[in-house]
């Protein structure tokens, strides 16, 4: 199941071991283990309600695992969460912004809170903002952006402090074709530049096009994790995925 993990453990940026998370009577994650190698794009694939967002929240230190550990760069995700934040850039599924700040002001705020000089940070981010087509809209209230623009602003926020790890929750959910393509290109460039990226999705082709590592999650359990080619083994990812999720439904 995790055949590739032992060789990559030395270069794993993120280590997730035997994590269980319950909310009252409902179990969101059950004995989940995964490790994310540095500098690669990893995809977390699973149907809705499988536990993807829960896992990301655990990584962000927003939730505390009932059992098991999560570590980023040897920092415990919950106990050392304040320090760990310096290493993480996070994009949530549906970003919501303050109703009284413009996009630019949100970026200034975040830059200040990360200890960066806001003006300098904006300067270095401006090329990316132009590429995303956001530069004109930055002075409008962030709350009034369209869904795609909010995602883009969220991505800018995540990249502001140049973190080694990017956690993206369904990053292209709701984006148009052009923006989706842009996101893919960006992710590839970031990975080439040395960033580690993990994103969640329920769309096969995204994983096939971008990822080198895949984990399939279903009903809170890890169905399969490893290199993309090893998991697919010649078949299409869709076939493998359906087989795995049916298996876990049966068990």
């Amino acid at each position: 199941m995790t055949d590739s993990q032992s060789t990559d453990q030395e270069t794993a940026l993120v280590q997730i071991n035997g994590v269980t998370k319950r909310f009252g009577a409902k179990t969101a994650l059950n004995d989940f283990s995964w490790s994310l190698p540095k500098g690669k794009i990893s995809g977390l694939l699973g149907p809705n309600g499988a536990g993807k967002t829960t896992l990301f929240r655990l990584l962000m230190g927003v939730l505390k695992a009932d059992q098991g550990t999560l570590a980023i760069d040897d920092l415990d995700c919950f106990e050392d969460r304040v320090v760990a934040k310096r290493r993480i850039g996070f994009l949530p599924d549906e970003p919501v912004f303050y109703s009284y700040l413009s996009g630019r002001e949100v970026l200034y705020l975040s830059a200040g809170m990360h200890g960066l000089d806001p003006i300098e940070a904006m300067q270095s981010l401006l090329p990316l903002a132009c590429r995303l087509g956001m530069d004109q809209a930055l002075d409008d209230y962030a709350e009034e952006y369209s869904r795609g623009m909010k995602k883009k602003l969220g991505l800018l926020l995540a990249l502001l402090h140049n973190p080694p790890l990017l956690i993206l929750d369904e990053p292209t959910n709701g984006l148009d074709v052009e923006s989706t393509r842009l996101f893919f290109d960006l992710m590839r460039e970031l990975a080439d530049a040395g960033h580690t990226i993990v994103f969640s999705t329920h769309l096969m082709d995204q994983v096939e096009r971008l990822c080198s590592e895949v984990a399939v999650i279903s009903k809170g359990r890890l169905a399969r994790a490893g290199h993309l080619e090893e998991i697919c083994g010649g078949r299409s990812l869709e076939e493998v995925f359906l087989e795995l999720t049916r298996e876990s439904a049966a068990s």
């Binding site: 927003v62 939730l63 993480i88 109703s99 700040l101 200034y108 200040g112 002075d139």
Partner: protein
Amino acid sequence: MSRGGQPTSFWVTVRALLRAARLRRDGRMKRQSELMRRKSGSGTDMLGCLGTAMISLFMILAHGLYGYMALRIVDPVNEVSAEREGMMVIPSYLSRTFDELAELKSQGAKERFDDELARFAESHARERVRNWGGDREETIQKVMDHYHLHGPDGFTYEKSHVLFRETSSDFPPLFWTVLTFVFGGWMTMMIFQGEGLELDVQRVRHPMWEWLMSHPIKPVAAFSAEMLTPAVSNPLYFTSPVFWWVLFGGIYGGAVGFLAAILVGIPFTFAASALNKALEISLMLRLSIRNRGAVLGLMSWLGYVSLVGGIFVFSSFSIHLRLIAWMDRILPDLPQWPLRTLLYGWGETASATGAIISGALLSVGTVLIASYFAWWGMRKGLQAVGGRPGGVVRQSVKPGWLGRYPLYRKELLWFWRDKGAVVQVILIPLTIGAVQAFNLRGLASLAVSDWNIWCGFAVICGTYFLIVLGPRSLASEGAALWISLTWPSGLEELLKAKARLWWVVSSGVVGLILVPGCFLFPGDLWRIAIVALGWVIFSFSLAEKSVALVTAPNSSGDVEPPPRSRQWAVMIGTLAFGVGVMTKNWHVAVIGVVFSSLTAAAIWQNLRARLPHLFDPWTEKLPPAPTVMHAVIAIALISEAAGIGTVMLVLFLESDQIWFARSMAYGLIGALAWACMHQFLEGRDVDPKSIWTWPRPGREVAKGRFSLEGLALGAALGGIAALYVVALKWLPLTKEALEEALSMANASNVEFFFFAFLAIAVAPFAEEYLFRGLLFRALDREWGTTKALIGSSAFFAIYHPPLSWLPVFLLGLLCAWLFRRNGRLWAPILAHMAYNTVIVLTG
């Protein structure tokens, strides 16, 4: 179910939506109580329920007062009319004086006549000055001149207890004008209160509307269901039939009043609720998001002012008179027929049936107006008005301004741009401050200068500024809280930064009011400086408390308001400092400051345990009961309730029976509090009896209840305290204050008995249970023994008169030490009893 092209029927839609709302509310309550049970073992939010019950009682009082005010304004109106016609109104028991005066005049006894007249003028002038203000000497002269000019015919007697029904045709037009205002005030309250003071809910367009409108239903039906929400959520609405009951009951008798409450009161409740919601919805649809905050803030402020203002006006007869006289001068006569029809029907004679029917018609009319507003609001469709008008370019604020503190910049930008916050944060504190200033004017000692009222006004404004601002500033995060979680700083740091900013801003606001006070009252400069110092300490802890109400958005993205009990915990005791300053009662003011600091520490202790699990309340674990928080709340509730109870009892008794009132109040409140604490602890799976014994590892609990050690040490300390009192008598500084405090020594035997009863039989039990059994023990767990000894004893001392702070502090130390050593609460109780006995006997 819709049949081929027709929209679903109105009633089907409304019923379905109401059921959905009920399910939603039940679901939320069930989830909350499940969470509570998991955390604390009990499913009920007792403090929250208590708070809601108290608010409901308060609302009933408000409605009753409005109704009563409407019935009783005849008297002040008559008085004002009479005065306007050049007569002076005097109480009827003074009629004998006129007979005597006439007799003396006819007998030619000039000196005695002058004496008698002067005496009459003086006694009447006292009342005139109280009602109308003005200089006492001048008023006396005026009364005497008036008598010389007009004789007894220049005076008319007070009428009282006039029932409208019998003499309705005798009322001057002014009466109907004033009555219209009273009724208007009540209507304003009903229409604008809505779901209560918007302290913690952000007004955004309901995201469900688009989903709702995608169904084949009439928009009117969808909104009708929403219109009932204020009626079921704000106690003001479901207690409003009381107003009609009082009003109609006063005119037609209790049975008709009750009927009116049902036939008019209930429909009107829903009508007012509908109108409020219709106004709110139409404003939300028509205004941009930032402006709508301001307008809605104004609306809820209006609702609030009419509630508080009504009670305030009612409380003082002189305010009645002055307001009515002002209305008489400024306003033209308003048409009589609306209120006449409402109260008497449309016939010549008063008719209960006619009145009730017109009341019901009023409800129908209100609903029609509500429908009009709903229609007006929806005319431009459901799109929110937003975006900028063409051509105007927005400028983002550069980070250079307050660049080093991005959080402060964010908060100030919010405050400036959320017009609703500005409106409420300025209007509400000013309103409350002004009301309190007038209210407590009577209780303030007869000082030459009013510096204490000025400072008290400043402090109360500042207090409410923080109370309103803190939760609103938390609500401004809303669902954007996730952004804060991506920063390398804990939530605690963010909340503290918020608190610090508002502390500074509120101190600036209070300073703005205090500084002119230095020029107005130059002789009291050092006193004002002490108040300012007290404010700085107090406001720091208050700011910290108000940001402790943080909640996370739930899984569907809604930001839920904090539980009622937590809101109440923050609010308890906040007025003590302001009230203390205003009434020149330093003792209360210092209590307010110390108490606030202690509660802030307790709240933050709980908060720190809660913060890491903000998004995950299922893993949250409460510290075991009773905590510092529980102890502090119990003490605060009891002292505030006992204080209120004493005041209420004093109002009904003569003022020299104050010790009877005090011991009764403390006794009753103490018993009630003990029962509540019992329930609460059982709910948290803690055996209430365990408070009385304190087993510790390595130390056995003492065998019997009797403790010779306790008695002896207590008596000894009592002796020392008696010597201390003697020492105080010799010091010139404290001599006078001591004489005042010991005025009890000259009281009657009965008073003395009650004082002794309170001191020996009631106080030791209550105080030891609270301060040692609960507070000291919880503090010992949190802060360690030494700090806990000092902290709990200091807190204990604060609750006694300042002169006795030193011996009481020592007593606190002794009792806490005894409790810890002995393991039974009886030891400190006996010590306390012995101490008090010695004091009482030697005092």
